[in-house]
């Protein structure tokens, strides 16, 4: 279990976000949306309400029977009558139990279905969001929507909703019964209920502000723990342990004090409420006794009345406890709906990628894996996919304030290897982000085999591009599953061939279960270099017409890189390839090397031409300028 918990983000309850106690911004709107999710269970909910009503009325009525039982049957000694009444009472309890069972089961069903639907919608939504959303929002923050926020909403629907409904029902029916029994005595209870209201307002208010302080200092401690544990090895190397403890001690003590205050208020609430109810009980008892002597009131009524006195404060206490849960849940729901309201990735492209068969100049669409692809325009015309990519005067910035690419024009002919070099922030990765439309250009255009990429359906566009990213991401699953990630129907032989091409076959076969070895935690058991080899194999198996290699070999040592060079060469053969590389030795044999500097192409040419120019490339190559 310890290991399973590792998959959780380190922002547990009260993690760095620490938004457990925020108040919702738009209470009505959020509640409306939540109700929308529950709405389809309208009939079931009506059933739940009915059951709740039956169950609360059942117990209230059963208690009400105590009065006639004592006065009319026990005291006069009518035991056949008592038997009948007790049978009724037992029946009431049984019905009440049955009703409460039914509604609890139904609520579990409704709440779990609702939460599952909410979770699914949230996940589906994430899949449609543009990359820019993920670039601007931390994954830990998004993750906490799935964990903390969904949990609080689930808690709300699962227990709070039912408990509020049943508490309100119990309260109202109990109160009515008390009025029926004796309205004078009820005045006493009203007074104490008002007192409880004051307690809730005063202690509750204090408790909330103190809770906010507590959450803040908890966030500080947990944030510090997270940072220090992540840097633990550096702490050891620098003998920094004592200092790391000193600061922690301060934060820990601050949290302890804040938490003690907050918990003192929160913890006093229940005993205060409970004991107010008991004082009420004592006073009622005394006054009721005096009234009974005066003959206004009989003993049986007093007995039943006192049971109600004990009952009436419970729902109040329960609801007052739920208020914070409800507010937290609505704030959580608000954050969930905020994600759902993000606008999705726009895809207005109509041109799709199809498999074709080529026989003497004419193309025919086919289902078979021919290795031949074509673009199918909405009007049905087929254009062969060749891998001709052009940028026409492209200007782009991730934000409006900062332009990253300025009027970039470039062309890659089918089968050409185009390399980008330049320092960090020069815009190399941005170029590839635009080709596969992770981002859209602001002005200018990009064409792919003469078709504007905006007219191509994103799915088709991305299928035609194989990408190896700088940072390798692997999924939990076997090595083979990871290699065939983009091509689920690849055969074992194809998987192996791709692995051999990437020179990954050797190390894979050395793994405990070879290709069936299960990788977990982003392949943490493998070295950086090995993971990159897997990523290359993953791209190779999908056999894409155009390949984008973004620092694909940065973690592979030069000797191994030399070993996979032939594989890489055959992988690149016949394809248009865009290469971003840190090591200039990797890009030397490119047909065209583009030197990017601050979003502009400053040089273009092949290796020898650029060296001869003695410009930026020459300086980079001879190590006189810094690469990022």
């Amino acid at each position: 279990m310890a290991e399973a918990r590792n998959t959780r983000p380190p922002h547990g309850p009260g993690g760095r976000q620490g938004h457990g106690y925020q108040r919702p911004q738009d209470l009505r709107g959020t509640v409306g949306k939540l109700l929308g999710y529950v709405a389809q269970y309208k009939l079931l909910l009506l059933g739940v309400m009915a059951c709740l009503l039956i169950s609360s009325l059942g117990s209230v009525a059963a208690s009400y029977l105590i009065k006639p039982l004592i006065n009319d049957y026990i005291l006069p000694g009518d035991f056949t009558g008592l038997f009948k009444m007790l049978a009724v009472m037992g029946g009431l309890y049984a019905v009440s139990a049955a009703a409460s069972f039914t509604y609890a089961r139904t609520m579990v069903r409704i709440s779990q279905h609702t939460v599952a639907a909410l979770r699914q919608d949230l996940f589906n939504k994430l899949q449609t969001l543009p990359i820019s959303y993920f670039d601007t929002n931390q994954s830990g923050d998004l993750m906490s929507r799935f964990t903390n926020d969904i949990d609080t909403v689930s808690e709300l629907i699962n227990s709070s909703l039912a408990s509020i409904l049943s508490s309100s029902l119990t309260f109202v029916s109990t109160f009515v019964m008390m009025l029926v029994l004796n309205w004078q005595l009820t005045l006493i209870t009203v007074f104490f209920l008002l007192m409880m209201g004051v307690v809730v307002a005063v202690i509750g208010g204090r408790s909330r502000t103190n809770f906010q302080t507590q959450q803040r200092s908890l966030g500080a401690v947990n944030g510090y723990i997270e940072e220090m544990i992540e840097g633990q090895k550096v702490i050891k190397v620098f003998n920094h342990e004592k200092k790391a403890v000193a600061r922690f001690t301060e934060l820990n003590a601050a949290y302890r004090d804040a938490a003690t205050r907050a918990q003192s208020y929160a913890g006093s609430m229940m005993p205060a409420m409970g004991n107010l109810s008991r004082i009420n009980y004592a006073v009622t008892c005394c006054v009721g006794g005096l009234l009974a002597i005066g003959g206004v009131f009989d003993v049986g009524s007093l007995g039943a009345y006192l049971v109600y006195v004990r009952q009436v404060s419970q729902p109040v206490a329960q609801i007052s406890q739920q208020v914070n849960v409800i507010l937290a849940a609505i704030a959580g729901a608000e954050r969930i709906f905020a994600v759902m309201e993000q606008s999705p990735e726009i895809d207005e492209g109509k041109t799709v990628l199809v498999r074709v068969e080529k026989s003497g100049g004419t193309l025919t669409e086919t289902e078979r894996r021919t290795g031949c692809w074509a673009w199918k325009a909405p009007d049905g015309t087929l254009t062969e996919l060749r891998g001709d990519v052009r940028f026409h005067d492209v200007t782009f910035g991730y934000t409006d304030q900062k332009t990253v690419l300025h009027h970039v024009s470039l062309w890659a002919e089918p089968g050409q290897k185009i390399a980008f070099v330049g320092s960090t922030g020069a815009g190399k990765t941005t170029v590839t982000n635009l080709i596969n439309r992770f981002y859209d250009v602001q002005s200018g255009s990009i064409t792919y085999d003469g078709i504007n990429v905006k007219d191509i359906r994103k799915e088709s566009l991305r299928r035609s591009l194989g990408i190896v990213l700088q940072e390798t991401r692997l999924f939990t699953g076997t090595v083979a599953d990871n290699i065939r990630y983009g091509t689920p129907d690849a055969t074992d032989e194809e998987v192996r061939a791709a692995a051999r091409l990437a020179n990954a076959d050797t190390f894979i076969r050395h793994l405990p279960q070879g290709y069936d070895t299960v990788l977990t935690g982003n392949g943490e058991s493998l070295s950086q270099g090995e993971r990159q080899l897997l990523a290359i194999a993953r791209a190779a198996v999908s056999d894409p017409p155009v390949l984008i290699l973004d620092e694909a070999t940065s973690s592979i040592d030069t000797r191994t890189e030399k070993l996979i060079e032939r594989g890489m060469d055959s992988l690149m053969e016949g394809r248009t390839v865009f290469v971003i590389a840190h090591r200039l030795s990797t890009v030397r044999n490119a047909q065209a090397i583009l030197v990017l500097e601050q979003g502009e192409i400053v040089e273009r040419g092949d290796h020898h031409q650029l060296l001869a120019q003695k410009g930026r490339y020459y300086h980079l190559y001879t190590g006189q300028a810094e690469l990022g």
Binding site: R8, P9, P10, G12, P13, A62, I66, I70, Y73, I74, F79, S96, A97, S100, A104, V108, Q112, A116, F123, S139, E227, E230, K233, K236, V237, F238, N239, E241, N252, A259, T260, Q263, S264, A266, G267, R278, I279, A282, V283, C285, V287, G289, A292, I293, V299, L306, R310, T424, F438, E459, R462, R473, Y485, G486, D557, R559, T560, S585, G623, A625
Partner: protein, 578 residues
């Protein structure tokens, strides 16, 4: 487990005791109320004695007020004790982690350690706080109510002989059965979260390979499984409440039937009957409370176990055999028949019979492919790991003879996966030397070629570094880390691939600078680029945990196959250099 956690209540034991007493007092007082009430009914009302009623009423009021102060007192003391215990536990666990060696840390993984320090401790402190109240209240209420009921009527109490075992059975079934249900639920939750986490981290891969549909289906499957598991788990838990209602109703009916006969026969007063079934409800309620607490406890036991695992983990490397007076005098290093492996159960060695002698003040380059144990080799010098066989000598003494503090003061290491901490640039640099002056910082940064870009930052040395150094580039981060190590003025400086993101010219400048400012320091450099090591006094070539060759550039180029291959693979770039 409890025995292991108990010491951390130190300093709060009086609070705990006080809280328990307050809680017990509240419960007892609360239960005496129905008794006083029955006095009012049976003595006061029956006898028409108003002053008795008033006196009893006053007595009840005092008891209720006392119960109120007991309850609030218990809450305050519980908060104090619970949070104090939590803080001490967190402190102890954190300090324990500070004592861990690298091997200890790796055994747990960072994410798991963070969970154990944060949410697990939080769960433990809440458990103590809650159990101080409820765990005291429930048994006290149970016993008091039982005693009161017995005092009112022994024969009528026989009803409990049926209802209490029934409820106990339900509690036992609930507590034992609920564990597996919730384990399954936790597993299902983790499965769902794993998919989300992987998709968030690898969203570019998902989109590039157009796998949105498959990922959504994968998620849908796990989501359905989670939903069904949750329905089974909670569906089982909700069985409990109706069952309680049923037993409670049955008990009340039985009490009224049997008690009614007693009242009819005159052997029991009607006030007693009312009081009796109030106690009956209390007994059953307290049993229910016990079951809730037990359910909570089963969950926190898991957390407690994980904390104890950390607390009882033996720090692998200690100063036990060290001579506290010993400091690193010079930078001579000697490996003698060193054997090492990370996992005791692994078959092969990560380092096998390594012998190596490095003289003080030498510049040493270390070269080798991925997985050839370069990092492992240098990690043994500051004793980040313990050798399995043989010995490592620094400054003529076995590394085990130094205290860790003395040893690591003497040798600074720039880790491959390095970290900067949130704070200013200067604060980060002063990790190397706490009392370093501004001039010292600047000169160290000048050597590390970091001074220039730091000055270009908006607030220079006072610019803020974000957590993990997220706002500086890879090359800048590496140079800051080197400057931080230079500030230590160590006898041995180890750079583990620390200039990989720095261009060759800067790399060369840094190496020159180091030679000038740290002439007597032994400098070990792991590098990928041959240019970074070719002018070293000694180059060590590693291959799969063995030393393949030791010598100067010329010697290795003449006689070491691996060195030749690496050299050739990097040749083209160098040839233009001249």
């Amino acid at each position: 487990m409890i025995r292991k956690l108990l010491p951390y209540t130190r300093g709060y034991r009086w609070w705990i005791l006080g809280g328990i007493l307050c809680s017990a007092a509240e419960s007892v007082l609360e239960l005496m109320l129905p008794n006083a009430m029955s006095d009012i009914v049976d003595v006061g009302i029956a006898g028409g004695d108003r002053s008795y009623i008033l006196a009893s009423g006053l007595k009840m009021l005092v008891m209720a007020l006392l119960a109120l102060s007991g309850g609030v007192g218990a809450a305050l003391l519980a908060a104090k004790a619970g949070m104090g215990f939590g803080a001490q536990l967190r402190q102890a666990e954190y300090e324990q982690v500070q004592r861990f060696s690298f091997a200890n840390i790796e055994r747990f993984s960072t994410a798991s350690l963070i969970t154990r320090l944060t949410s697990d401790v939080a769960s433990m402190q809440v458990t103590l706080m809650m159990s101080m109240r409820i765990f005291v209240r429930a048994p006290v209420m149970l016993i008091t109510a039982l005693v009161m009921a017995l005092r009112i009527s022994l024969p009528l109490s026989q009803v409990f002989l049926v209802s209490i075992p029934l409820l106990l059975l339900a509690v036992v079934v609930l507590v034992t059965k609920v564990g597996p249900f919730f384990t399954a639920l936790q597993k299902a939750t983790d499965d769902v979260n794993l998919v989300v986490q992987e998709n968030l981290n690898a969203i570019r891969v998902v989109k590039s390979f157009v796998r949105e549909t498959e990922e959504t289906e994968k998620f849908a499957g796990r989501n359905r499984h989670l939903r069904d598991t949750a329905m089974r788990a909670f569906g089982f838990v909700v069985l409990f409440m109706p069952f309680i209602t049923l037993v409670m109703g049955g008990t009340i009916v039985a009490i009224l039937w049997i008690g009614g006969h007693y009242v009819g026969a005159g052997s029991m007063l009607s006030g007693d009957l009312i009081a009796f079934f109030t106690y009956a409800t209390e007994i059953l309620m307290s049993l229910m409370m016990v079951s809730m607490v037990l359910m909570m406890l089963t969950r926190s036991i898991a957390c407690g176990k994980r904390i104890v695992e950390v607390l009882t983990q033996q720090p692998e490397i200690t100063d036990e055999l060290a001579d506290p007076a010993l400091t690193v005098e010079n930078g001579a290093i000697r490996f003698e028949h060193v054997y090492f492996k990370y996992h005791p159960t692994a078959e092969g060695w990560n380092l096998e019979d390594v012998n190596l002698t490095i003289e003080s003040g030498m510049t040493v380059g270390i070269l080798g492919g991925t997985g050839s144990a370069k990092t492992t080799l240098v990690s043994l010098i500051p004793r980040l790991y313990e050798v399995n066989g043989g010995a490592v000598y620094v400054g003529g003494h076995n590394v085990k003879d130094y205290t860790m503090e003395a040893l690591r003061d003497g040798c600074a290491m720039v880790l491959q996966k390095n970290t900067l901490f949130s704070g200013t640039v200067a604060e980060n640099l002063r990790w190397g030397k706490a009392d370093a002056t501004d001039e010292e910082l600047q000169s160290a940064c000048a050597v590390a070629c970091a001074d220039e870009f730091i000055r270009a930052m908006p607030e220079g040395y006072e610019s803020r570094i974000e957590q993990g150094g997220a706002n500086v580039s890879g090359g800048q981060k590496q140079r800051l880390c080197i400057a931080r190590a230079i500030l230590r003025q160590p006898k041995i400086l180890i750079l583990d691939d620390s200039t990989s993101a720095v261009d060759t010219a800067t790399d060369a400048r840094i190496r020159d600078g180091l030679r000038q400012v740290l002439p007597g320091t032994t400098k070990l450099m792991i590098a990928q680029r041959i240019t970074s090591v070719m002018d070293a006094d000694l180059i060590v070539v590693l291959d799969d945990g063995n030393i393949s060759g030791v010598g100067t550039h010329e010697e290795l180029l003449a006689g070491n196959r691996i060195y030749q291959e690496v050299y050739e693979s990097q040749q083209e770039g160098v040839s233009i250099d001249g």
